[in-house]
């Protein structure tokens, strides 16, 4: 292996298993769902970029997104000189904020006495 290829490989491997988490601050970061994930590919040096299909959040926002790579992904990226770059993306949905309800058996308010003409 040429020195150049070895250097590239080292560079790739040194970033392997990187793991980034973006989390909404405070209580918003407490998620409703367990992590759901997909491997996404960026092809042609970013010309084609896959998007995750987020179909489990019931119209709620995302609480947390994690992006990670591993040795295998790094190798693919290095060997294809960046033509194909996979990465794993995981997300957790935020909780809904339901309006409080009434259990439905509040005592019936006495009918308002009609005063008037």
């Amino acid at each position: 292996m040429s020195k150049r290829a070895a250097a590239l490989l080292c560079l790739g491997l040194s970033s392997a298993c990187a793991h980034y988490r973006v989390q909404a601050p405070g209580a918003a970061g407490a998620s409703a769902t367990e992590a759901q994930g997909e491997v996404l590919w960026s092809l042609g040096w970013g010309l084609v970029q896959e998007r995750p299909r987020v179909d489990n959040c019931q119209d709620q926002a995302l609480a947390e997104v994690t992006q990670s790579t591993n040795v295998g992904f790094a190798l693919i990226s290095v060997l294809t000189l960046g033509l194909a770059m996979p990465q794993r993306v995981e997300w957790r949905c935020a909780k809904a904020q339901p309006t409080p309800g009434d259990l439905g058996v509040r005592p019936v308010a006495p009918p308002a006495t009609a005063e008037g003409p």
Binding site: P25, K95, P98
Partner: protein, 503 residues
């Protein structure tokens, strides 16, 4: 409309602190069909949806387990079968109508779905001028998950979280769900369980057993809790020399020999200590909070953005620190403590503002052993002696609660339970240190029990020995009554319960 049951394709599940990975058949997130509005029809439909999941488990001969925040370090929420994530279920129903014999006000009651988190409870209750009496040091647990293992704080006037719960709505089979409360203290108006289609069961033994149910009593769908008027806590943290007088405070809660930080003459509402066993010459940290109807003049509000907040305990400290550095050494822990776990004076906020969000995952590892007042010093000295022989980079925490009425609560020691938390990084050193403490405790005469959600090495005989034959038998008997067939009991069992002799 039936609830939305989202089936995940993943066949492995990991708990919050990533202490284990569990292979499973199916993981589902359950959402109310209309997640934006708490309604009775929506709640009833979700009950049916949960019953459908139980039916599926029975048909496919799978286990089924409710999942809360997934914050337990133990495998209490783990299953090889169907894991039902209940966190999206967060309907809130304040002030339900009460039973004529209930002496309290209906405004002091809140009925919620199982997945409401402690953080959500704190926010909602503040909005309506109410508060929880207690909670753990941080707030990511769901209400069902928190009570499921007996989560506690350090409030000198109340018990653990399950002790403010006065009613449970349990889904126990595909065709039965029950509203459970104490016969000796009926709370709910009979019409409400009727309206929800639930069978009303008033029975002290069943209720007390199901409170700390370890997920083994069916799916908890709703929880009725007693809340109190909004109060404020005036908080102080000071590093104090560990004198004979401070030992007496730790051992007996006798504060007569020491000057606690804060206004003189007031009785503490909350009292905790954090001890760095490798840095005791400089003293130990004592946190004291006093309860007020409003914040006293001159106090400052808590700073929500800081890494560690006023109510944080050993586990949060280690969690924050191991998020920054993955390996803690003894000198590094002391230096980081100096930087991040600092003294403070006269900070005032609501319960929810002081015991607030923990978003760190870190490589923290925690165990908690409960002992009665009067045996605290002995327990801490035993742990310190083992640390002297083989030091580990970790912290001890001391917290206190009144004994619980829940049959298998680990905070069961009268007249008051003290919990010694031992928190460190998830390393072999921490684990072998803890193991030594557990072995020495087992040889001692100190009555002690372990937190179900934190690490321990209990097995069936140890559970019977520590928690008491009568308690274990009563718990198992209640479980047999509520889950009358072997199939149902098998569905709501898991390796954790089997290992404890509780399946």
């Amino acid at each position: 409309m039936p609830p939305v049951i989202h089936e995940s394709s993943q066949k492995r599940w990991q708990n919050w602190h990533q202490s284990y990975i569990q292979k499973l058949e199916l993981l589902v997130d359950v959402w109310n069909e209309d997640a934006s509005q708490s309604t009775v029809p929506g709640y009833i439909d979700t009950t049916r949806g949960l019953q459908g999941l139980i039916q599926r488990a029975l048909t496919q001969r799978l286990e089924l387990r409710g999942l809360g925040g997934g914050w337990s370090f133990t495998k209490a929420p783990a299953t090889s079968g169907i894991l039902v994530n209940t966190r999206p279920l967060n309907y809130l129903f304040p002030a339900p109508r009460t039973h004529p014999a209930h002496p309290g006000r209906r405004e002091d009651l809140l009925f919620t779905q199982c997945g409401v988190s402690v953080a959500e409870l704190n926010h909602f209750l503040k909005r309506i001028g109410k508060s929880l009496t207690t909670s753990g040091a941080s707030n990511g647990q769901t209400i069902a998950g928190a009570i499921g293992t007996g989560t506690h704080g350090s409030n000198l006037e109340t018990g653990a979280m399950q002790d403010f719960v006065v009613g449970l709505h349990l889904v126990v089979s595909p065709d039965r769900h029950v509203w459970l409360e104490r016969a000796s203290a009926p709370v709910i108006n009979d019409e409400i369980p009727q309206k929800l289609g639930a069978e009303l069961v008033r029975d002290d033994a069943l209720f007390n057993a199901a409170l700390v149910g370890l997920g083994g009593f069916g799916l908890v769908h709703g929880v009725l809790m007693e809340v109190v008027d909004l109060y404020y806590l005036q908080a102080y943290r000071r590093r104090m020399p560990l004198t004979e007088e401070l030992w007496r405070a730790f051992d007996q809660l006798d504060f007569s020999g020491i000057t606690l930080p804060g206004p003189p003459g007031l009785k503490p509402y909350h009292f905790t200590a954090v001890i760095n066993p490798n840095d005791m010459d400089r003293g130990v940290f004592v946190t004291v909070m006093y309860k007020h109807a409003r914040c006293p003049e001159g106090s400052t509000p808590p700073s929500p953005g800081s890494k560690l907040t006023q109510g944080d305990n050993g586990l949060e400290i280690i969690g924050v620190l191991t998020d920054m550095v993955s390996e803690l050494t003894i000198p590094l822990l002391s230096r980081l403590m100096d930087r991040f776990y600092t003294e403070y004076e006269n900070v005032c906020g609501t319960h929810g503002e002081l015991f607030t969000d923990t978003t760190t995952r870190g490589k923290a590892w925690g165990s908690a052993v409960a002992v009665p007042l009067g045996r605290v010093r002995e327990t801490v000295e035993l742990a310190l002696a083992i640390n002297r022989a083989q030091p580990f980079p970790g912290l001890f925490g001391l917290r206190y609660t009144l004994p619980s009425r829940a049959t298998l609560a680990f905070t069961q020691h009268a007249p008051m339970t003290c919990i010694l938390d031992i928190d460190g990084t998830a390393s072999t050193r921490t684990k072998s240190y803890n193991r030594r403490v557990w072995q020495q405790l087992a040889k001692s005469s100190i009555p002690h029990t372990y937190h179900w959600g934190k690490f321990h090495e209990l097995d069936g005989p140890a559970v019977r020995g520590r928690y008491g034959e009568a308690h274990v038998n009563a718990w198992l008997e209640a479980r047999r009554t509520l889950l009358p067939t072997p199939e149902l009991r098998a569905a709501f069992a898991n390796d954790y319960l089997r290992g404890l002799g509780l399946a």
